[in-house]
Structure formats: structure tokens, C-alpha cells
Amino acid sequence: MAVLDAPRIVTSRLDFEDSHTLARYLATGGYTALRKALSMHPEQVAAEVDQASLLGRGGAGFPAGRKWSMLRPSEVAYLVVNGDESEPATFKDHLLVERDPHQLVEGVIIAAYALQVNRAFIYLRGEFALGLERVQAALNEAYDHGALGRDVFGSGFSLDVVVHPGAGAYICGEETALLEGLEGKRGFPRIKPPFFPAAQGLYGEPTVVNNVETMSNLPWIVLNGGAAFAALGAGRSTGTRLFALAGRVNRPGVYEVEMVKNTFRDLIYDPAFGGGVPGDRPVKAFIPGGVSAPWFGPDQLDLPLGQDEVGGQGSMLGSGSVVVLDDTSCAVRAAWRITKFFSRESCGQCTPCREGSGWIERAMYRLEHGGGRVEDLDLLLDLCDNIAPGLTWPPQQTTICVLGPSIPSSVHAAIEMFKDEFLAHVETQGCPFD
């Protein structure tokens, strides 16, 4: 049975039609967390976030408090919010920026105060036209309200926030590529080391990059304390998390779920969440954390929704996107489409990713659309192995960023789990599901 008694930390206002306005935000306790934070020492605010054990909600799951502590002391430092949500089937940040932009803005101000930076940028993917309008409107209202600008609420702390539009590039979700986009360049991920923008980020200055959902949790954490947040969930996975559920479910959507206390089965079947599969068909496979994640089969439905719980089973919770395939879904077509995406979005800097994604896409295309050969299975596994040697999890990396090693996940899993289906495609010289 699903556990539904956790507080709604980031979705508490979404039942209101006007949830994006300052009036509604103030009427529901908005900006009281900021006032409380400003009455504390910046280090105390950071300590609460550290205690909360808030894992970054973008995909990598790096603890936000630790990221903050790594910020190199400097005269000039920046806070950058990653709102370039582009991992296929991930649509939680979209909801937060459109429906509760003030919660995001308040989180940004709290983070900037804790870090003592005076400039922040919110990088939103350019396709979020309404999101850009809503966040800018929220910033405008926050300036007028005295929550932003010089001398925030009379505290002496000053902050300016600029909302920056992306322009359609999946790779800009990678934090160093995002910084390149913010510097007005092609979105090429930067060579590591340095591994963390906290040492060398925007314009080479120390920079913290945090995800939209991560920021949106901060007002609640400051108001209720890091301990209250850490009391939710279990182990390293604390608090609640937004899960974007899509694919073959009756009620696709974004659900706020207490970490670890619920399982994939709860998320997919509980009437409060996915409500089951259309026509009560069986789940054939599901992708647990965005298309970069290896797939799971029905025997893993009872796995808890926790970072380490999923990580220990050879995949990841990643971006919080769960995609369900039922027995009417073609595994070859699904894996082909995911590879086509990576092939289109590879930035082209590294050979294994640039060339490998295209090779895999072409082999998968002919399997799905006619022209596939039995040898293609070995060829595909070899290509996957060239990109991520050994096909282990977490994967070995041969490229500057993790887009490369994300490419084999779906193809490798599909071949392992549904080899017969691949052979049937060769047999029929096309898709048996057509």
C-alpha cells in the first residue's frame, strides 16, 4: 500500500488556480522562510540544508549541502539554477516553474544568502515560454515586494536574479554546458578536471549550480528545519521527491512522493498516483530514472523509490522520470527512439558519443523498420561497449560528459531483457507490433 501521509513540500499550492501569483504565495505563508533565514547566520542556513541531507534533484543526486560547502572562497561567486529540464519524460521542473515560481524564487534567495552571493541566474530551457513569463513575473513581484534587489527586507543583503532562456539543446542540462550557454557560447561540456563549478564555474569564478526542484525545497526546509526534512524518507534519501510518471499508465503526471516509503508498484498502480496500466495489461518493463537509466523488469516493481535502493540494483533514480512499457509496447522501437534522441543531441565533441550514437541508431532503425540482421545484436553490444567499456553500472566513461555513457543503457537493457523480440524483428523484417 502506498504511504500517503507525508507533507506536500513543493506541491502544496498547486490546487489553487492562481498558485503562481504573489498574492496567493503570501496568503499561503510565502516569504516567511526568507525572513526567518535572514534572521539567521548564513552558515546556520547552510547547516540546516546540510542536515536535511537534500540530494540534488536534477539527476546526479549530489548532496546540496556538500556542494555548497565546496564553493571556493572568493570576492566574486555565482549561483546558477538549472532549469534546462530536457531528459525525455521528465516534466517536474516544468510544473514548478509554471505553477509555483515564487517558491523557486524564494529558494534561490535563501540559497544566495546562505552562500553570500549577490548574483544569481535562473537558466530555463527556451521552450518553456510560459515558464519564462511566470518566473520573470515572480521576480518582478519579488523586487517590488522588497524580497529581491538591494537590502532585501532591510537585512543589508543584496541580490539580483536574471532569468536566462536556453534555446533548445539537451546537453545544456549538463552543468558545465549550461554555463557555456550562459556565457553565450555553444553548449559544449567542459573538460574535467576541474570537476566542480564550485571551484571554477561561470567566467571561471566559483559557482554553485542547483536544480529547480532542489531550490524549491529550501523554503520548507528553512521553516521546518533540516531535521524535519531528514525525518522523511530513509537512509540517504530524505524528504519527498517529484516523480514524473509517463508511458503506459492510466494517470500520467507529476506526483510528490515520500522517498523510500513507496515502491515503483505504488507509483504505477496506486489510485492516488498512476492508477494502473490501461486495460489492466501487464507491465513489461519500466525505465526508473530518465532515458539515461538502464531498464527494469516487472520483478523489480517492489523496489523502494530511493537513491541507493535503485542504484544498488544496477540503475538509477536519475531525473525522477518513470516510463512504463506494457505488453503492447515494442522494446526495439522504444530503444531505437531513445538512441535517435541521443544521436541528435550529442554535442559532437567526443568520438565515441558522436559516432557511436549514430551507428547504434542506424542499426536499431533497420531492426525496427526492416533490414535487420542477426549479427546486428553483437554489433550493437560491441558499439555499446566501445562507448562504455565493460557495460558496467555505473558506466565507464570515455567521453567528456555523461551523455556518452548514457547511450548504451536502453539498447543494452533491451537486448538483455528482450532478445527474442529482437530476433522476431529480424525474422519478420520489420516490427511484429505493427
Binding site: G149, P165, A169
Partner: protein, 205 residues
Amino acid sequence: MSHLRVDLRQRAEELVALYPRPRSAMLPLLHLVQEQDGYVSPEGIDEVAELTGTTPADVRGTASFYDMFHLEPVGRYVVGVCTNIACLLAGGEELLAHASRRLDCAVGSTTDDGLFTLEETECLADCGHAPCVTVNHRYVRTTTPEAFDAMIDEVRQGRRDHEIPDHGTLVRVRRNGGLRVPDEVIAAERAAAKAARARRLEGAG
């Protein structure tokens, strides 16, 4: 003589002023060019180069990296249909094929009357309403062929223009004032930029 209209030129200069370095305004400025010209025009590229202190080749090289920037003219309405994984499982490919027939226009091309350009898109983060359809980056949430047809008819008659503005994702984004960063912060940023330049020169021998 500025290629950008007076109001857009002013917005462009305001945008440049918001960033520590002018080049950072590259993407928003290109959105403004697209708002005026419907695509990233050569004249617009020249002006962005001037505003950001770069070259036209540099601007074009940057613009060509990003899918939202059209380097050739497109229709007044760019219709995007997603076929990525969540939409694929909800009939996205079939809806895209339907859209192509309905508009009498191959995917990736523009109708003869110049009204519509049809694109196959990657995930647009609206998978709760799959398959996802956008017009000029506004989510229209028409998931069936019938709803799609009705939407196209309304767009053709101009009845959706209030919710689907022209190109330019920033067309309704307005900031209510300039930069509010204290002077000493800006002075520190300038000093840091100068130091970084000096380090680079030193490194270059």
C-alpha cells in the same frame, strides 16, 4: 542604423546590461531577432555581433548549435509534434504523420502559404499530455487527430493568436527594472575579469 526595431533595440541593450559580460546575452538577443524577423536573419546576426562584441561568424556558429534558432525563414506558426519515448508510447508518430497529411507538408518543411512549419521535436517536458503538440512553443495539448485538426482551423483563422504569439520565446517576458547589484559587487566582478584576462595573456607567453 539598427536593424532591430526601436523597442527591440532598447530591450536588447537592457538585456546586455544585465550580464557581467555582454556575450552572455547572446541567446536572449537571438530570441529577440527571431521575434522580429521570424528567423535568425543575417542582418540580425550582424547586430547581435555588434551588441555582444563578437563577430557575425561567431554568432552564427553559436546560433547553429541550438535547435530553437531557425537560420532559414520558417512559417508564421511552427508546429512541433513530439515523438520521444513518452509520446511514442501514446501515438506520437501517428499524430505526426496525421499532422503532415492535414497540413499537406512534409516534416521539416513549410506549407506553400507560408503559414505553418511542421517539426518533429524531442521531449518538450509535457509528458502528462502526450503526445505533446506545441505551436510557437505554446503547449496546445491536442492529443488526438480530431483535436489537432480543430486547433489548426482555429489558428488559421487567427482565433488562437491571444495565446499563441509570434516567434520569440521572450515575446511576453519583461523585466521591471535594471540591474540591482550593488556597485562594489560590480567593481569586484570587473577586477576579477581583468585578472582573468591578465592570467590568459601570461599563459599565452
